[in-house]
Symmetry: C2
C-alpha cells in the first residue's frame, strides 16, 4: 500500500512534511506518494535517507493557502496538492491521504473527489484525545457546526466503527456530550438525539457524558456537534499549554528548583508525551469514501509520521468498509433518518 501525503500543507513547509512522511512510511512499512511542487519535494528528499521506502512523487503545481476559502479554492485550483492526493486515493494508486494543509480545503477536496459513504449525510472529523484510561475518540471537531440529531446518530456509528478498527477497542462505549449526565440534560439537539441513540442497535450507548468525562475516559467515544467539539478540543489544548507555562515559570524561579527540575526532566517529558496531541496522529475525516487524515497545521515531523501511521491503520483496517456496513445495518427501534418513517 501507498500513503499519499500532501507535501505542501502545514505551517512548517515541505521539508518538515517530507521528513515526517519518510519516518512514518518506514515505521508502517508502506510506500509513499508525495504530492506537491516537484522541485521542493525533491529538494527535501535529497536531505534524507530513502533506503527501503518505495517513493513516488506526484506533481501538483497549485497551492491552497491556509486562509483561502475552502470550497472556492478547491474549484479554482484543480491541480492543488490535496486534490491530486485525493485523486490518487480515488484511483486506488494510494490507500489513504494525509494533509496538514487548509483543513476546510481537505474536507472539500475529499468530498469532491472521493464522495461520501452511502448513508452518510455529513462527514465528521474525529480524533483521539488523551484520557486517564488511555484515550477517548472525540467527534465531530468542526466539520458540521449545526448538525441535526440524525447526523449525530451517524457520527455515533462512524465513531464506534473507527474506535473499534483503528483504536483496537472491542465494543466501544459511546457517550453523548452534554451539560449533565441525566437524560433530561442538554440543549435541544442533545435532548432530541438522546432517545435516538438509546434506541439504536449496533452501538453500546452509555448515555450523556460531561466535559470532565472526556479526559476521565468514562467512555471510548464522545459524540458532539462540530462547534462544541472544536471548542472542547481547543480548550483542552489551551489548558495543557497553560499548565506547562505555569510549571515552567515556577520550576525555573530559583536555582535549587532548577536543579530539582533537571532531575525530574524524564518525568516531565513522559507527562508531556502522554498529553501531546501530536502523538495522537491527527484527525480522521470519517464518512468520505476513503481514508483521509487531517493533521494539525502546526504539525512537526513527529506528528506527520504519526498521521501516516494512523492513515495506514485506517486503510488496512478497512474503516470505510466497516462504516459502510455499520450504516447499512438496521437502526433498531428508532429511525433517526426520518421520524415519519418508522422502522418496519
Amino acid at each position: 500500500m501507498r500513503i499519499a501525503v500532501d507535501a505542501m500543507g502545514g505551517d512548517h513547509g515541505p521539508a518538515t512534511i517530507v521528513a515526517g512522511a519518510l519516518d512514518g512510511a518506514r515505521r508502517a512499512g508502506v510506500g509513499l506518494t508525495l504530492v506537491g511542487q516537484t522541485d521542493m519535494i525533491q529538494a527535501a528528499l535529497a536531505t534524507h535517507d530513502q533506503t527501503g521506502i518505495d517513493i513516488e512523487v506526484l506533481d501538483a503545481p497549485d497551492v491552497i493557502g491556509m486562509d483561502q476559502h475552502p470550497a472556492q479554492a478547491v474549484r479554482r485550483l484543480p491541480n492543488a496538492s490535496i486534490l491530486v492526493a485525493c485523486r490518487a486515493a480515488s484511483s486506488g494508486s494510494a490507500g489513504a491521504v494525509v494533509s496538514a494543509g487548509n483543513s476546510g480545503a481537505a474536507m472539500a477536496a475529499a468530498l469532491l473527489v472521493l464522495g461520501r459513504i452511502p448513508g452518510i449525510d455529513r462527514p465528521a472529523i474525529a480524533s483521539f484525545v488523551p484520557s486517564e484510561r488511555g484515550r477517548t475518540l472525540l467527534l465531530d471537531l468542526g466539520a458540521v457546526t449545526d448538525p441535526r440529531p440524525a447526523h449525530l446518530v451517524q457520527f455515533a456509528r462512524m465513531g464506534s466503527a473507527y474506535a473499534e478498527r483503528v483504536g483496537g477497542i472491542a465494543s466501544p462505549t459511546v457517550g453523548l456530550l452534554s451539560n449533565g449526565e441525566e437524560p433530561t440534560k442538554g440543549n435541544q439537539l442533545v435532548q432530541e438525539t438522546f432517545p435516538l441513540l438509546a434506541a439504536l442497535a449496533g452501538i453500546d450507548f452509555y448515555g450523556n457524558v460531561e466535559g470532565t468525562d472526556i479526559t476521565q475516559g468514562v467512555v471510548d467515544v464522545v459524540v458532539t456537534d462540530g462547534f462544541t467539539g472544536n471548542v472542547a478540543l481547543k480548550v483542552a489544548e489551551g489548558v495543557g499549554a497553560l499548565v506547562v507555562a505555569a510549571l515552567r515559570s515556577e520550576v525555573t524561579a530559583t536555582l535549587p528548583r532548577k536543579l530539582a527540575a533537571l532531575l525530574l526532566r524524564p518525568a516531565f517529558r513522559a507527562v508531556g508525551s502522554k498529553l501531546d496531541y501530536s502523538e495522537t496522529g491527527g484527525a480522521a475525516l470519517l464518512g468520505v469514501n476513503g481514508a483521509v487524515v487531517i493533521a494539525h497545521g502546526r504539525s512537526d515531523a513527529k506528528a506527520i509520521a504519526n498521521a501516516v501511521l494512523v492513515a495506514h491503520r485506517a486503510a488496512s483496517q478497512e474503516v470505510v468498509a466497516h462504516i459502510g456496513a455499520a450504516i447499512a445495518a438496521p437502526l433498531g427501534a428508532a429511525n433517526p433518518s426520518g421520524p415519519a418513517t418508522p422502522t418496519p
Copy 2:
C-alpha cells in the same frame, strides 16, 4: 453589610460551609446570615472562634437535595435554605447570597424571590477562569442551553459590567466563543450574534475567539451559550485533573524523582493554586435582581470563603445597578431585542 450563606448546600455539609463562611466574612469585614437547620448551624458554629463577626442564624427547616428537580423543589419547599437566603437579600437584610447547593434550585429561587433586572430576559452564570494573563470571565456556564442572539448580547453587556466592577478591569474586551477567529466562522447562533455585538455600543467587542484563547487571556470576557460554556469549563477542569494525575504518577515513579519532587513542592503548590478553580470563588448568577454567588457543590471551606469575598465585592460594587444601567443604555446601531424594531 451581611452576606446570607446557604449553610445546607454542598457535598461536605454545614460544618465546611460554616467554617468557610466565617473565614470569608472575617476577611471581607462583613456580617454573616447563616441559613439552614438551626441546630446543625449552631453545632458547626460552636467549634469556631466567632470573635468580631456579626452572626445571625435564620432557620430554614426544608432541605433541597442535589438531585431534586429545581423548579419543583422550590415550589414545594418554601422554607428551604436557598429560598430563605434569597428572601433575606430581597428584604435588604442581606446584601448578597452564597450557595453551594443544587445550582438549578439556586437559580429558580433567585428568579422567584429576587426577580430579573429590567431588560434581562434570561440570567446567566459567569465565572472567572485562570488564564496566562490572569483570568478570563466566561459566561454562560449552563443557565441557558439554547439562547437566542439577543440573549448573548445581554450576556455580553452583563459580563462586561461584572468584569469591570468585580474583576477591576477597565473597559474589558469581550470575545464571542467560536470555532475560528474569522467573522464568518461559528454555528448559526454565533453567526447571527456576531453582527449584533459588532454594532453594540458600550462594550469593547474583540470579535470571535477560539477555545485556546480563553486560557491565553486574549480577551477579558468570553461569551457563549450555556451548553458550550458548561462543556468548556468542565473540559478545562478535566484536563487540569489529567495533568495533575499524570505528574503525580511520574514524579513518584522512582526514589530520586520523589526526592526532587519534594524540593519542587512549593512550585507545584504555586501552580496548583494558580489553576485552582476554588480560588476563583464560585460563579455569579448575573441578571437577577440581587448579588447571588453559586459555589461548586464540592466546595471546601477555602472555596466558600472565596465565594463570600466575591459576593461581598459584587454587592459593594453594585453590580446589579451597573448591569441595569448597561442594559438601559442605547444599543448602538443594531437592535438585538427585535429585528423588526430598528433603533430610532
